[in-house]
Amino acid sequence: MVDHLQIQATETTGRRRGIDEAAFRDLYDRTARPLWGYIARATGNDSIADDLSQEAYLRLLRANFEPESEEHAKNYLFRIATNLLRDHFRGAKRAQLPLEHDPGVKGHERQVHLQHDLRKAMMHLKPRERELLWLGHVERFSHKEIAGILGLKTGSIRLLLFRARKKLAALLDETNSGTEEGR
């Protein structure tokens, strides 16, 4: 897939290099949705995800980054997004939505509510835990890649993921027990 990311000299300095427009469009098409999803679920805010995704691509291009492979480019992009998220969380306190549940939902509605509960439960996790879960379970990055993106030690990822999952499961259990009591 390296050929997708043809590298050429940029006209601004004559020395610096980066990806060309066609390669960028290709990279954007393959990564925009996952990247947006990562930021949206880490922040719990779609509008912030719009802004930060765009900024992540701008930073990638401004850095004149030379990717070695498609995975390398994706990892680099997610690392930029993680840094942007860190800056975002530094400046804003995360919203604490109450863990409540509407009783008496069935069928596909139940699935919709489960997703709603997941979103709310995730907002009760630390930003780092949300990032870990998304990178590990949705993007399915390896532990080494997650460590690179989040700036952590590879050996600690398994345990951190386990703890984040345990915490999320407990939060979801809490929501479910609320539902049972409501019936």
């Binding site: 999803g37 691509y57 701008l58 291009l61 401004r62 379970h137 993921l161 499961a169």
Partner: protein, 159 residues
């Protein structure tokens, strides 16, 4: 309750994701809380990812490319003019220091000029050449302070 991840967790996740669950792994999954949590959360997270809205809200990649190009050009222009700005600052400092030294060295002459200027201003509250300081240091220090403040203000306006 388990405080360490299960050693079979990766195998279980891989098997459920690829729909290749064996009898042995199924038995383990039924009894292991850590693995069942991992599988449940994996499924929920994937379902959540599949429900993400379409990306019509994000701008066209061509627009981002052009914006980045514009920013790169601005950065390049900023880098190119950095020596000019540095030279301007050095010239300003050199001029200020030269002026201060010149004023200090020929203070009696400057003092006499200032005195003449003061006396030609009609309503100056009775100030005369005699009321001007004989020591040039406060005057020079005041002038330098003014220059420093002016320099900081210009830097802020530029920034």
């Amino acid at each position: 309750m388990r405080h360490q991840p299960c050693t079979l967790e990766d195998c279980i996740l891989e098997a459920t994701r690829s729909d290749a669950m064996t009898e042995e792994l199924s038995r383990h999954l039924a009894t292991c809380r850590s693995c069942s949590d991992a599988v449940s959360i994996d499924n929920l997270m994937l379902a959540e990812a599949s429900r993400l809205p379409e990306l019509s809200r994000l701008p066209d990649p061509g627009r981002i490319w052009l914006q980045a190009r514009q920013q790169r050009l601005l950065q390049a222009a900023d880098r190119a003019t950095r020596p000019i700005r540095a030279a301007e600052k050095i010239a300003l400092c050199t001029g200020a220091v030269g002026l201060a030294i010149g004023t200090a060295m020929s203070w009696p002459v400057v003092r006499s000029w200032l005195g003449q200027a003061v006396t030609t201003i009609a309503d100056f509250g009775g100030a005369t050449e005699g009321s001007l300081p004989t020591n040039p240091v406060p005057v020079i220090a005041g002038a330098l302070l003014f220059l420093v403040l002016f320099g900081l203000y210009s830097e802020l306006v530029e920034g």
